[in-house]
């Protein structure tokens, strides 16, 4: 172990690893934060993967056509939100089964994005600039890890803080949680269950779309078919792992980002482990994390919103 350009351990530069961690975690953090709000309102949207991939192509197309990555992030978020509203229309107005509809959203999104993306293969998107944080960026070790990223990385953290404040300190957050815990009671109190849920879904879709756009505009950066590769599903797992709490979702997303970056670095470092087996790691770790957290909650208070996934039909 040496202390040259960075801290090197087993052929892996730890500072570069930690710096990549924040970038790798951002798409999933955004999607998971969005899904957290939807699930807090009592809706289980399994279509995160579909919304993310639509955000990836919507954002990519928007950025390439306009030449501005900012426009791309906006179109990505809109693409995700539109997908979420489609899900909302089916589940909240036409009262369809949420599990099946979420799956349909994912299958549909994967197909539609591939169709739209035909003309965008091999294109390079306009670069998303890094934020200049002056002296902070020059700090040894902490500088490259924390202060040399693009705005979306900081925005995603700000979003977690905002969601935490919203859920815990605002009146609207209280209403949202009430709808998610007991929709009949919330309805009886005069709150508009369907409207609240559609709003929560749209927010979740926009956040997932933003996460998808971050993948295609910054993380990769290019468009390839099916490029989300399960990131949306992992975001869903992270909401469970985070026990439906914003700060734990942040922790979960960063842990997951760490695993992803580590396995990528191990691939690059040329260890004698087959690439395909290393690529399994994020998914296996997600399963392990789900099992641990589910086992812990088994005998304690249920962490999931009580009305999660249940169909609401106001009979009067």
């Amino acid at each position: 172990m040496g202390m040259g350009a960075g801290m090197i351990l087993g052929g892996i530069d730890l500072v570069a690893l930690a710096a990549m961690l924040m970038v790798a975690s951002t798409p999933i953090l955004l999607a998971a934060t969005g899904e957290l709000i939807a699930e807090k309102a009592g809706v289980l949207n399994l279509g995160v993967e579909g919304m993310m991939i639509m955000g990836a192509i919507g954002g990519f197309a928007g950025a390439v056509l306009s030449g501005s990555p900012e426009v791309g992030f906006v179109t990505g978020a809109i693409s995700g939100a539109l997908m979420a509203l489609l899900f909302g229309f089916l589940t909240q107005v036409l009262l369809s089964n949420q599990v099946a509809t979420g799956l349909a959203l994912t299958l549909f999104g994967l197909g539609l994005s591939a169709l739209i993306g035909k003309g965008f293969e091999g294109v390079r998107p306009p670069a998303t600039g890094k934020i200049d944080l002056g002296a902070l960026a020059d700090l040894p070790v902490l500088g490259p890890i924390l202060f040399r990223h693009d705005w979306v990385v900081y925005f995603s953290i700000a979003l977690v803080v905002a969601v935490w404040l919203f859920l815990h300190l605002s009146r609207s957050g209280l209403i949202l949680r009430a709808v998610g815990e007991n929709h009949e009671a919330a309805h009886a109190l005069g709150y508009r269950v369907v409207a609240v849920r559609l709003g929560a879904l749209a927010f979740g879709g926009a956040a997932a779309g933003l996460g998808g756009a971050y993948l295609s505009l910054v993380r990769v950066p290019q468009w390839t078919e099916g490029m989300t590769a399960g990131a949306g599903w992992i975001a869903l797992a992270i909401v469970v792992f985070g026990s439906w709490r914003a700060e734990r979702v942040l922790l979960g997303a960063y842990l997951f980002g760490g695993v992803t970056v580590l396995q990528l670095r191990l691939q690059a470092a040329g260890y004698a482990i087959p690439v395909q087996l290393l690529s399994m790691a994020p998914y296996v770790i997600t399963i392990v994390a789900l099992v641990i957290i589910s086992a812990r909650h088994r005998h304690g208070a249920q962490a999931a919103p009580a009305a999660l996934g249940r169909i609401f039909h106001a009979s009067r």
Binding site: L90, L95, L103, T286, I287, S294
Partner: protein, 359 residues
């Protein structure tokens, strides 16, 4: 103002009418999609839905229909049982891949010995492999309460990586000139799952699909286990009073659907596909979910839905060839079909009333 009034019991008429309506609505919406892509919608619909059945080369395509429908039906038959109980195995794609890997491994281990025992051993290995892959989410669900939806789905990605590893590593053809992919089982008579009548497209996997439909029909309508599955889905609380053990039900449903998906993968790799390659998983496991829903989780429905989805695959390939319609358009088409079905299902469970409902 429109109001919805819940029906006391789901309408039998609408339960069967909605899939038909959904198909029609999808054709219309698909036509609009094709028009946006600059293709003649009527022409595209004809190429996809009519020509493979009644066009010039229909004889060939009808065989293809069974080749595509076979795995879809086999997988969907198992999934439908779980869906009825409210147990969501959405990782059939992974179980399909692992079944194929296990079946092919047995064949490649036996190669080049010719014996009547090779094929039955492959069938067993395929079923066991799929079963084992399905039992992982089942065990994690019953032991730790982990969501079977997320675990089974995660295992699809694990299986896909396992497949790529096998194709480039242990199962690679030693005489393949360095190309990835296993030996072609079509050239190994003891392992080859050939058409039972040449050119018919009906191989052992298709027969297994039919058998699975009959088996699940008997299970669901004539057997106490089917009754338990039914009430577990409709009324979980009542099920517990009736002595239904949720853990055993989860294990049964995930194990059964896993085994059938594994079989489908094994029959595919030994037959139409022939070899393990990293692109072996073609999404049958996901399309089978659409088949199960479109078929109303009912054996006859699944048979029809499987044939219809097979038709969209074949017609889609033709449209790609003749009209340069992108392959992804068919995926969109299949997704839309599921949307329309789920949305229109409203009519099965509710009556739509115009005007203000009396409170």
């Amino acid at each position: 103002m429109i109001t919805l009034v819940a029906r006391p019991a789901p309408s039998r008429f609408w339960a069967w009418a909605t899939p038909v309506l959904a198909v029609l609505a999808t054709m219309i919406a698909g036509g609009v999609l094709f028009a946006i892509l600059g293709k003649d919608p009527v022409e595209a619909i004809r190429v996809i839905f009519w020509d493979p059945l009644f066009g010039a080369n229909a004889g060939y395509f009808r065989g293809q229909l069974f080749i595509k429908a076979g795995p879809l039906i086999l997988i969907a038959a198992g999934l439908a049982v779980g869906f009825r109980a409210g147990i969501w195995n959405i990782g059939a794609e992974g179980q399909y891949i692992v079944g194929a890997l296990c079946g092919a491994s047995v064949a490649l281990a036996a190669y080049p010995a010719e014996s009547v025992l090779v094929f039955p051993a492959m069938v067993l290995a395929g079923a066991l492999g799929g079963w084992a892959w399905g039992m992982i989410p089942a065990l994690l669900k019953t032991r730790f309460g982990a969501s079977e939806i997320l675990v089974s789905l995660m295992l699809v990605y694990v299986a896909q990586n396992l497949l790529a590893w096998a194709a480039f590593g242990p199962l690679k053809n030693p005489q393949g000139f360095g190309f990835p992919g296993s030996r072609n089982l079509q050239q190994y008579p003891s392992a080859h799952n050939a058409d039972l009548v040449a050119g018919s497209g009906i191989h052992w996997g298709v027969m297994a699909g039919f058998a699975a439909l009959i088996g699940t029909y008997v299970l669901m309508s004539r057997h106490i286990a089917g009754f338990r599955i039914q009430i577990a889905g409709d009324a979980p609380k009542a099920a517990r009073f009736a002595g239904v053990a949720p853990a055993r039900l989860v294990a049964f449903c995930l194990g059964l659907s896993g085994a059938l998906a594994g079989l489908a993968g094994m029959f595919e790799v030994a037959g139409p596909s022939g070899q393990i390659t990293d692109s072996f998983g073609a999404g049958y496991g996901f399309t089978a979910i659409i088949v199960a829903f479109l078929g109303r989780l009912n054996p006859i429905g699944i048979l029809l839905a499987g044939l219809l989805m097979a038709l969209t695959y074949i017609g889609g390939d033709m449209a790609q060839l003749m009209l340069q319609l992108p392959a992804a358009a068919i995926q969109v088409f299949q997704g839309m079909l599921l949307f329309f079905l789920l949305g229109l299902d409203l009519l099965t469970n509710y009556t739509v009333k115009w005007g203000w409902a009396r409170a």
